[in-house]
């Protein structure tokens, strides 16, 4: 692997739980992200998967510095992003852009599409106002497959897929190096979903983008990503190259997630499924030691006594006392 462009070390985000109205005191914390580390190489796509509440979106929002980490370090291109403010932060944000899940709520309904896509250019004072910017916006619209003549339309005049293209155009307007896509296709119909996935892949090839791709749909992640990190209750359970993860999951949680995906091949549905029972425990009060031991089929005494660390075996890195053999 080439030199990583993004290094994340021990990233933590705790949201305080408070009691009382006037004198608020902290009575606990939701440990949304609780010590996450990974590297991403230039031009690579890293997938983040996991169930609701596992911390994947919180991680993404910290990488874009939309929320501040409680502790930990984010190093992008040799520069530490975790403490910076003001002008330095603004500068860093030129490099890191985000595409959001809901193409309806992520576009201001009162603004014209041209002005939505132009906004990043305006904020960063790029290109001269007027024709130059307008030309650039129309180039961007053309690049993402929108008709540049629709510059003056409002978001409601576009379909869900087209709106997501607007969101992508806005995200690439500044020529970022890192694109964070948080569930970019989960609100779209399957036939449209494929159009957006292909667009993201094309842009990555053309612009050399590094992508953090968050999705709950494991087949979409398989299609898009070079490496995949599986998160559970704020921690990484397993991180592995795509092929290894899908063919030889090491962590029992990864295995269970894969087994749960309904397969569009009815022949396979007869298989006996290792169904994961119950729900994800509360991140305000996660199980001690291995966080997965309460739902794990392989758990024994050590799993509820000692926390497993991420250990490398072949290409995969998994945090488990009883990793599955290939």
């Amino acid at each position: 692997m080439s030199e990583p462009v993004l290094k994340v070390r021990d990233l933590v985000k705790h949201f305080p739980i408070t009691r009382g109205v006037v004198l608020q005191r902290e009575v606990g914390a939701v440990r949304a992200v609780d010590g996450v580390s990974f590297d991403v190489a230039q031009g690579e796509t890293l997938g983040l998967v996991g169930e609701t509440g596992c911390g994947k979106s919180t991680t993404a929002r910290m990488l874009a510095r939309l929320i501040d980490p409680t502790s930990g370090e984010i190093e992008f291109d040799g520069e530490n992003l975790s403490g910076i403010k003001g002008r330095a932060l603004k500068e860093a944000r030129r490099q890191i852009q985000m595409v959001f899940q809901d193409p309806y709520s992520s576009l201001n309904p009162r603004k014209r599409v041209g002005s939505i896509i132009e906004e990043p250019l305006r904020i960063h004072g790029l290109l001269s106002e007027g024709d130059a910017r307008r030309k650039r916006v129309q180039e961007l619209m053309d690049r993402v497959g929108l008709n540049p003549e629709h510059y003056n339309r409002f978001p409601h005049e576009f379909s869900g897929g087209q709106r997501q293209r607007i969101g992508v155009a806005r995200a690439i307007a500044l020529g970022p190096r890192l694109l964070i896509a948080d569930e970019p296709v989960s609100a779209l119909d399957v036939s449209i979903q494929a159009q957006i996935l292909n667009l993201l892949k094309d842009l990555q090839k053309d612009m050399g983008l590094t992508i953090i791709f968050i999705a709950h749909d494991l087949s979409v992640v398989r299609h898009m990503c070079d490496r995949v990190a599986v998160m559970y209750l704020g921690k990484i359970a397993e991180i592995a190259p795509n092929e290894d993860l899908y063919s030889h999951p090491r962590h029992p949680y990864t295995e269970a997630l894969l087994a749960a995906v309904p397969s569009p091949e009815p022949g396979r549905s007869g298989r006996t499924r290792a169904l994961l029972g119950g729900d994800v425990p509360s991140p305000a009060n996660p199980p001690v030691a291995c966080r997965f031991h309460t739902r794990c089929a392989y758990a024994d005494a050590i799993c509820s006594a000692e926390e497993p660390f991420l250990v490398q075996r072949d290409g995969s890195v998994a945090a488990c006392h009883h990793p599955l053999s290939g």
């Binding site: 609701t52 897929g161 119909d189 399957v190 894969l258 749960a260 309904p262 569009p264 994961l276």
Partner: protein, 349 residues
């Protein structure tokens, strides 16, 4: 074949809007027998949900026009009066919805909501109804059901809420359960639990199940028969295995080719269906899919194809001769190009 439990014939639903008349469902026919399962798949706006809601009279209003028939146990749901329909709702046919949080009343305890559903159809004393509610929660796999009766919906997780909704739907032992995107809001692991539960209940209670979804994976795992809807109509209906191994309609081909898979070779580009569905206000002349179809001929843009039944009882609506379509699919399934398939369809190869 015995009389079907529910027979929908030529059902149409249109809404009067400011922009014009939206034909959401346009002449749909299907039937289901006791204990069977039918999957209805389609994209947003294909009419799959509106069809389900209409069966229970949930789209009735001054701005809605419904025509056709839906015969359920000898009476027509479409022409039935509101009072008799209320007796069918919940008791004959029950429905569960996509979002379990907004389907439960946040101010009332889960148990009380189930008891209300039980008492809506029978003079059951509160005590008996409460015991029955606990049984139902146990049936759908909620641990410690007696104590959970007193919980509020916000104390339940998404999966538990959907289980509670299913418990409520089952409270009067309906002969038919319509599940509209029952797992779309849930995580895959919980989705797997709910699908397994629905399948088990169908077998154990001999209840017919109509599952409405956009997810072909969900259909593959739960349905015996599948109807594919596009722009308010059924374009193909097949048994589930055949739908995936020998799909008949170019739209079904497009759907199957556009989804990424969990196994098999990776890295090939996905093959999306170009364009988007037509407006339901001014339906195009001819086949509604023609504009997005790689195989459309001039005739497709003029003549509206009928839903024709094949020798083996499957149905599809396409003007291209059946044999040529069946000859084209194997290459497409293997990842072949549409250009090659087009030659087969046109009969030039």
């Amino acid at each position: 074949m015995s009389t079907p439990l529910l027979q929908v014939e030529n059902l149409s639903v249109s809404f009067n809007t400011e922009d014009g008349v939206v034909k959401a469902v346009d002449g749909v026919s299907w039937s289901i027998e006791a204990g069977q399962s039918l999957g209805i798949v389609g994209e947003s706006g294909s009419g799959k949900t509106v069809g389900g809601l209409t069966l229970l009279g949930l789209t009735r209003s001054g701005r809605t026009t419904v025509s056709g028939r839906a015969m359920f146990e000898g009476s027509d749901l479409v022409s039935m009066g509101d009072a008799s329909l209320r007796a069918v709702r919940g008791k004959g046919i029950a429905m569960i919805f996509q979002d379990p949080l907004s389907s439960l009343h946040p101010f009332y305890r889960v148990g009380d909501q189930i008891i209300e559903a039980i008492q809506a159809h029978s003079q059951t004393p509160k005590k008996v109804a409460r015991a029955r509610a606990a049984e139902l929660l146990a049936l759908v796999g909620i641990p410690d059901p007696k104590a959970r009766l007193d919980a509020y919906p916000h104390e339940f997780s998404g999966g538990m809420r959907q289980r509670a909704m299913i418990a409520m739907a089952l409270s009067n032992e309906p002969r038919l359960l319509i599940a509209d995107e029952p797992t779309t809001a849930l995580d895959v692991t919980v989705q797997a639990q709910i699908l397994e539960l629905l399948d088990r209940l169908r077998r154990e209670l001999q209840m017919a199940l109509v599952i409405i979804t956009h997810d072909l994976g969900v259909v593959a795992e739960t349905a015996e028969q599948v109807a594919v809807m596009y722009a308010g109509r059924i374009v193909e209906q097949s048994p589930v295995n055949e739908l995936f191994s020998q799909p008949m309609h170019p739209y079904t081909w497009g759907l199957l080719r556009s989804i990424p898979k969990l196994t098999g070779p990776r890295d090939e580009a996905l093959l999306p269906i170009p364009g988007r569905p037509p407006s339901l206000i001014s339906r195009p002349k001819g086949c509604a899919f023609a504009e997005r179809c790689a195989y459309a001929e001039d005739a497709c843009r003029l003549t509206d194809p009928l839903l024709a039944t094949t020798a083996d009882g499957r149905r599809s609506a396409c003007l291209i001769p059946h044999e040529r379509r069946m000859a084209a699919w194997p290459a497409l399934a293997a990842g072949g190009t549409e250009a090659d398939a087009l030659k087969v369809v046109r009969g030039t190869k």
